[in-house]
């Protein structure tokens, strides 16, 4: 048979036209060159691997009613039909023969590896009953939800507020909270949204051409900008793929980045390259001057002079001494940044900010360059994320909870930007509280967090954690220590809306269970998504609704009402209701766009998968503000307040919105830092890292380990079941520079012991010119393990033994590597690699930054040839020592309460923001 060509001639199109998606026909590649027709329904959804939320298009085979493959969704405004390797690899995850298809209840002791199948009803009844009891007994803070990858917008905010608990915990303090705090101190917005495509100069302290927030959409636009003439500089001690294609690779010694950035700022100030008019208009220089010279005259030129003086020590020579980057290069890049005025795009997310003590000063120093070049929120500049990120609202918003959970926001870290999540087991061990019901959701702290064996010790203790339910699409090292393992859907198996600040533009995307969507389009109907998904794989949206009804079946607790339909009062909310309401009422422009195609908004999103809400969002700080009667204006700063709250700022006689900071300006000077105990850090500055050269003992041979670098092919511990990705990348040797290797007598492949504060791991080395001397690096993702047959993924996890040594330490040893195994997928017999890498994070003590609360990832280590008894993959950890290191870092904090007896500043955002009165200590 012959199919028609889409267009005459030899021209090729990227995608089947959307009007053909209901019944798309193409030839079966497996039968080719026999022309055998395949009929597909193409259903858009959203990738659930990294956080970027790129569009996918599921090819649902209409005969087999099975997903055949995932391509990109051309209608998605950020990913534009393109994906990284993890997009098409979603098909591996869906068809993984090792995946968990049914709810599991533990059968033996926790962690023993004994499981039995459970029904969803049983799961809901037990967990719902337990939560109900806790709520009725006033133990609201004993219920905690701990999330790794959210993948949705405000969903859990609404649910947990409806439950009235301060129970939202996240992964953010092992991820990005330092960078976030630095950005937030400037503008109240805690993320950057660079417009790479239109930039004249791009500076990345990240590896956005291969990883991170938001790899694929950013890579598209960075390369676009580069081809259009932008220059690209990358700071990274390791030659990332990103650094490789940069015009300038600045291999900064770990932790020295802020010094280099401030040296660049000094060049820009000294050489008159700063946009002073912008600074005068938009920074809170008056607050700075008033603070320095109480009662004195506030002159802008004096401010510029004092600012310049403030940074006098950051000479290019000093920056070179700190970073190892030649001064000429620093000056050259600084001048180019200055010349890019108005179109300087930059980004730091994890990298240096998450590696080092004081990492929040890195993003703050970077933003100083953005402000000096007047590139905040401009075309080609760096916008605050809130301008480009869509957030839904709901038909009814539950009020802030009347709870404050000290396990999440303890008094020692009043400025911690997110929850002190990675210290949860340490807090529990210290007796600060206990958990009755603990949900981990797409979250694997035993593997991902530092000091995972302390997590393991606490998770096994039923007195500290009453019930642990792991909501996860795949096996992970944490789920092994759960009472319930609850399989939740992957990209094409769940509903969510998601939006990210990937570009100059604001969009919303719709993830959907594609088999359910396809079968509903063909006329079937389903009560629950697990009826259409493989096995009984469910989705959280429906799970939480059902669970909430079981927690409060009669509505007496005041919870059920939040889970009733906005369209059918008193009846149970459905996912269709939920998204229908949002798409009809809370996405500007969507109803009209849908109507233009004769579709209801929900159907429009089901068929398009994404919607562009706005583009060219610039200069929002200049938006006029209506001043209510009774508003007050500060004659000096122009700050306009109403009912004690800053609402805008008067500039040139007009009241405009400004920024969501106490001064409504960009806070080059942070009164908050001063008032909350850190006066020496009131300006963007440079804090010597815990791995600064001066902190290393050269006599012991100490080096810095960068343990965080990511690969373009993997995502944390969620992609271990993607065979195509594992085939490309499956081990994580320790990168070491040629000169260091020579000093230690090492060659590529040699076994080494890497000793940390609390233990060691045994890995092999990769001798390379792609890393700074004195620095070693070991990539994230690899070194997965499983304790028992029948749990864990054989694609990526090696079987290990885990034993306590007589002196209380833990020794993990690989029993066998990876290898072929029999399964329904013939490829599992073809696994040709035998090495899945080595787990390093277990050997890291916790390093909570005393200000941001972020775990400071970089490690002081000694690399040695090790002991004869060492075996590849060995991990040894002393958890008593890790508690000691925890206490050392606890000692660095400056506890609250702060001014006004507050637990934390009211103006700084807080996840799951409680009722305002709860901020009072």
């Amino acid at each position: 048979m012959t199919l028609d060509r889409l267009s005459p001639g030899s021209g090729l199109q990227a995608f089947p036209p959307p009007e053909t998606w209901d019944d798309w026909r193409e030839y079966d590649p497996k039968e080719w060159p026999r022309r055998v027709e395949k009929r597909y329904m193409l259903v858009p959804t959203v990738c659930f691997n990294c956080e970027a939320a790129c569009g996918l298009l599921a090819y649902v085979d209409k005969d087999a009613m099975r997903v055949r493959k995932f391509e990109g969704n051309p209608l998605h405004p950020a990913s534009r039909g393109r994906n990284c390797a993890k997009g098409p690899a979603t098909i591996n995850q869906i068809h993984d023969p090792e995946r968990i298809l049914h709810p599991l209840r533990r059968a033996g002791r926790r962690g023993d590896g004994q499981w039995r199948r459970a029904s969803w009803d049983e799961v809901l009844d037990e967990i719902g009953g337990r939560i109900r009891a806790a709520f009725r007994e006033g133990r609201r803070n004993e219920v905690m939800y701990h999330v790794g990858r959210p993948g949705h917008e405000r969903t859990m905010d609404r649910i947990l507020k409806a439950w009235g608990i301060d129970g939202h915990n996240s992964h953010t303090n092992v991820c990005s909270s330092s960078a976030r705090l630095g950005y937030a101190l400037w503008s109240g917005y805690d993320r950057p949204s660079p417009d790479h495509a239109n930039a004249r100069f791009i500076l990345l302290l990240s590896s956005h051409l291969e990883a991170g927030h938001y790899f694929n959409p950013h890579a598209q636009r960075i390369v676009e900008g580069k081809l259009a003439g932008a220059r690209l500089a990358v700071m990274d001690p390791r030659l990332s793929n990103t650094a490789s294609v940069a015009d300038y690779w600045l291999p900064t010694y770990p932790g020295s980045e802020a010094a280099v950035l401030l040296a660049m700022a000094k060049v820009i100030l000294d050489e008159g390259r700063a946009d002073l008019a912008y600074l005068e208009r938009w920074t809170n220089w008056r607050h700075f001057m008033a603070d320095r010279h109480p009662g004195g005259e506030l002159r802008f030129d004096s401010f510029v002079a004092e600012l310049t003086e403030h940074y006098r020590e950051f000479t290019p020579e000093m920056a070179e001494a700190e970073s190892g980057v030649p001064r000429e290069k620093i000056v050259e890049v600084a001048r180019l940044i200055g010349a890019a005025r108005g179109a300087f795009a930059s980004h730091v997310w994890r990298g240096s900010a998450s590696g080092n003590l004081g990492g929040w000063q890195v993003s703050r120093a970077l933003q100083l360059l953005t402000v000096l070049t007047a590139s905040v929120g401009t075309p080609g500049g760096t916008s605050p994320h809130g301008w480009n990120k869509y957030k839904p609202v709901f038909w009814e918003e539950p009020p802030g909870q009347k709870q404050w959970n000290d396990l999440l926001f303890p008094k020692e870290w009043p400025l911690s930007h997110y929850e002190m999540s990675f210290l949860l087991p340490h807090f529990l061990k210290e007796g600060r509280g206990k958990l009755d019901v603990y949900f981990t959701r797409v979250y694997n702290p035993v593997w991902t967090n530092p000091d995972g064996l302390t997590w393991l010790e606490v998770l096994k203790d039923e007195a500290l954690v009453g019930l642990h339910a792991a909501l996860t699409p795949t096996w992970n090292e944490t789920a092994v220590f759960a009472d319930y393992v609850l399989p939740m859907g992957m990209a094409g198996e769940r509903h969510d809306i998601q939006s990210q600040e990937t570009q100059d533009g604001r969009w919303v995307s719709f993830r959907q269970p594609v088999l359910r969507a396809a079968r509903e389009r063909m006329g079937e109907s389903f009560r629950f998504t697990y009826e259409a998904n493989p096995g009984e794989v469910w989705e959280e949206d429906e799970f939480w609704i059902e669970l909430s009804w079981r927690i409060d079946p009669d509505g007496a607790l005041g919870i059920r009402r939040w889970f009733e339909s906005p369209f059918r009062p008193g009846e149970k909310l459905t996912v269709a209701d939920y998204y229908r309401w949002i798409f009809e009422n809370a996405v500007p422009g969507l109803p009209a766009a849908a109507a233009a195609q004769g579709l209801a908004p929900l159907d429009y999103m089901r068929r398009h998968g994404a919607f562009l809400v706005a583009t060219g969002v610039h200069g929002l700080q200049e938006s006029p503000v209506a001043v209510p009667a009774g508003a007050a204006k500060d004659p000096v700063t122009g700050l306009v307040t109403a009912a004690g709250k800053a609402i805008g700022v008067e500039i040139d006689g007009n009241v405009v919105a400004g920024w969501p900071t106490p001064s409504r300006r960009l806070e080059v000077f942070s009164p908050t830092m001063k008032e909350w105990g850190w006066p020496e850090e009131a300006l963007p500055g440079y804090i010597r890292s815990h791995v600064h050269r001066s902190a290393l003992d050269a006599a012991k041979g100490e080096m810095v380990l960068i343990p965080t670098f990511r690969l373009p092919t993997l995502i944390h511990t969620r992609s271990g079941n993607a065979k195509y990705l594992n085939e490309i990348s499956h081990r994580n040797p320790v990168w070491i520079h040629t000169t260091d290797a020579r000093r230690l007598g090492l060659r590529t492949g040699d076994r080494v012991r890497v000793t940390t504060e609390i233990g060691y791991f045994v890995n092999r080395v990769w001798v390379t010119e792609a890393i700074a001397p004195g620095v070693v690096a070991c990539s994230h993702h690899m070194g997965r393990w499983r304790l028992h047959e029948g749990e864990g993924s054989r694609w990526a996890a090696a079987r290990v033994s885990l034993q306590q040594t007589p002196d209380g330490g833990w020794l993990m040893r690989q029993l066998d590597g990876l290898g072929p195994f029999a399964s329904a997928d013939p490829d599992s017999r073809r696994i040709w690699w035998s090495d899945g890498g080595v787990h390093q994070n277990l050997t890291f003590a916790v390093h909570p930054d005393p200000v941001s609360g972020m775990h400071c990832w970089h490690q002081k280590v000694v690399v040695s040839r090790g002991e004869p008894e060492d075996r590849y993959g060995d991990v040894f950890v002393d958890t008593q020592r890790s508690m000691e290191v925890y206490r050392e870092w606890l000692g660095k904090t400056r506890p609250g309460p702060g001014p006004g007896g507050l637990r934390r500043p009211l103006w700084l955002d807080r996840p799951l923001r409680p009722a305002e009165e709860m901020f009072k200590a």
């Binding site: 199919l3 028609d4 060509r5 889409l6 001639g9 030899s10 021209g11 090729l12 990227a14 995608f15 193409e26 030839y27 590649p29 080719w32 060159p33 022309r35 391509e71 990109g72 393109r82 994906n83 990284c84 390797a85 997009g87 690899a89 591996n92 051409l209 291969e210 694929n216 890579a219 598209q220 390369v223 081809l227 030659l239 793929n241 291999p251 690969l711 373009p712 065979k723 195509y724 085939e727 490309i728 990348s729 994580n732 040797p733 040629t738 060659r747 590529t748 492949g749 990769w766 001798v767 390379t768 010119e769 792609a770 700074a772 990539s779 013939p826 073809r830 040709w832 690699w833 090495d835």
Partner: protein, 480 residues
């Protein structure tokens, strides 16, 4: 219409999305790849740089894989795509010798040859291949070289572009903007035993791994996949060359001797021996096929430009003539005048055709030798004489030795040929096995003691060793 790819290295970020999209589209099994991204690093810190190269079938206008394929399983479509049909493939792996780019592999699921086919099934309905659509940075362009309006033609015309191994004359059609010599030339950064985040897939090693410096500023490969062509022809092919020499020589040498002595043809014993070795040759050939049941397709579905096809007919004709002569000899009837010379012609053809077949193996530089034809005939004569006319070894062994020396130490046109020759020179099986045991010792024996049977046996062992080295060495040279 002539489809081609353009890889824009100004855009490529080495993310492997193309490789995975391809695997997902075609369900390409683990262990093999239709397209992959090679990483090469150069320079010394802090001037180190890593380059990426999307590496795949070149859809050559003069595709050697199509020419060498005996059954039209590989074919060039009218739109310029080099496609394949696994249902016609006998699994002879000749295409893997023919392709100088390491584009082909044997699919472990189907046991037939496969490679990038430009997603012809998509192109035919007017869609780009998924490797193109998935690419985050639009670094891969698929287009029609004959369409002046295409983006591909525009870029090829405006930018300076490179191709892999233009000297092979295959007219490759994967063009690279900013192609990097250290990546384009496989031996500039040869495969390593491990990579920056992966193991190197195991390849059966016939020789010691090619040593590459892991330190210093020279180019080094930091990500690669299995060299799929490597050792695709193993001992069975080496043995086939040897039994084929015997099959041809067991007739040629005795027939020459017989004609010289005025007889019409050889005795039944050499005829029987020739038939035996010819049968062994056929058996080895069939045994080496990944689809042995399809062996007759070389005759029944011939692709006439392939010397594998032509050789099969030569062997078949030679076998028929041998059988005829044997029957007549056994029946006590004298062969008609002219039959022996005709059979000799086919015996010679049987020995010789492999030179043309190996000549079609564009991936093997060492085999592109003008000496190979004469050498195969001399090898056949040597083998036959070793069994039936040992006295002739006194002149055949020196002659064969000269040809061996020519292959090993003579002038080689390309660096890759020299590389393979060097592998032979440095191998002890060559110096000890081929030269000492296979040539010097038998000559000494013949001169000194006249122990002709032992001399013959040693000469045959030398021939076998040589065949093995000669077949294997060029397969160690990296092609991608």
């Amino acid at each position: 219409m002539n489809y081609a790819f353009l890889i824009d290295n100004r855009r490529c970020i080495g993310c492997h999305a193309c490789s995975v999209a391809c695997k997902a589209e075609h369900e390409v099994p683990l262990g093999v790849a239709r397209t992959w991204v090679k990483y090469v690093e150069k320079g010394v810190f802090p001037e180190t740089r890593r380059t990426f190269q999307v590496t795949r079938c070149n859809h050559c206008d003069d595709a050697p894989c199509v020419e060498i394929c005996p059954t039209t399983a590989l074919f060039r479509r009218r739109d310029g795509i080099v496609d394949f049909d696994g249902n016609r493939c006998i699994g002879c792996k000749a295409c893997m010798q023919g392709c100088p780019y390491d584009a082909l592999y044997i699919d472990p699921q189907t046991e037939t040859a496969a490679k990038c086919n430009f997603c012809a099934h998509k192109v035919e309905v007017g869609l780009e291949p998924p490797c193109v659509t998935v690419c985050p940075t639009q670094a891969i362009v698929a287009g029609d070289l004959d369409d002046p309006a295409s983006r591909l033609v525009h870029l090829v015309a405006r930018e300076s572009v490179q191709v892999r191994k233009p000297e092979k004359g295959t007219k490759p059609k994967v063009f690279y903007i900013d192609g990097d010599a250290a990546s384009l030339v496989p031996s500039a950064a040869p495969p390593m035993s491990e990579y920056m985040w992966s193991q190197a897939p195991p390849t059966p090693a016939a020789f010691g791994a090619m040593a590459a410096s892991e330190e210093g500023g020279g180019p080094r490969r930091t990500y690669g996949v299995r060299e799929q062509h490597r050792n695709s022809w193993g001992w069975k092919v080496s043995a086939y060359l040897w039994t084929k020499s015997l099959a041809a020589g067991c007739f040629l040498a005795p027939a020459l001797a017989a004609l010289a002595s005025g007889a019409r043809g050889p005795e039944p014993v050499p005829l029987l021996a020739a038939l035996f070795f010819l049968a062994a040759t056929g058996l080895l050939l069939v045994w080496d096929l990944r689809q042995p049941k399809r062996f007759l397709w070389t005759l029944t579905r011939p692709q006439w430009r392939s010397w594998l096809t032509r050789g099969s007919y030569v062997i078949a004709a030679y076998g028929a003539l041998l059988a005829l002569q044997l029957l007549m000899a056994l029946a006590g009837r004298e062969a008609p005048r002219g039959l022996t010379p005709i059979t000799m012609l086919f015996a010679g053809g049987t020995a010789l055709y492999t030179a043309f077949l190996f000549g079609q193996a564009k991936g093997r530089d060492l085999w592109q030798s003008p000496l190979l034809g004469p050498h195969l005939v001399v090898q056949a004569m040597t083998a036959g004489s070793a069994l039936f006319v040992p006295a002739w070894l006194l002149w055949l062994l020196p002659l064969n030795g000269l040809l061996v020396a020519g292959e090993a130490w003579g002038h080689h046109a390309t660096e890759d040929a020299r590389r393979a020759a060097r592998l032979i020179q440095e191998d002890r099986r060559f110096t000890t096995g081929v030269l000492a045991v296979g040539h010097l010792l038998p000559l000494t024996l013949l001169w000194g003691t006249g122990q002709s049977w032992l001399a013959g046996a040693l000469a045959l062992a030398g021939l076998a060793t040589w065949e093995h080295l000669y077949v294997q060495a060029p397969q160690q040279v990296p092609l991608s």
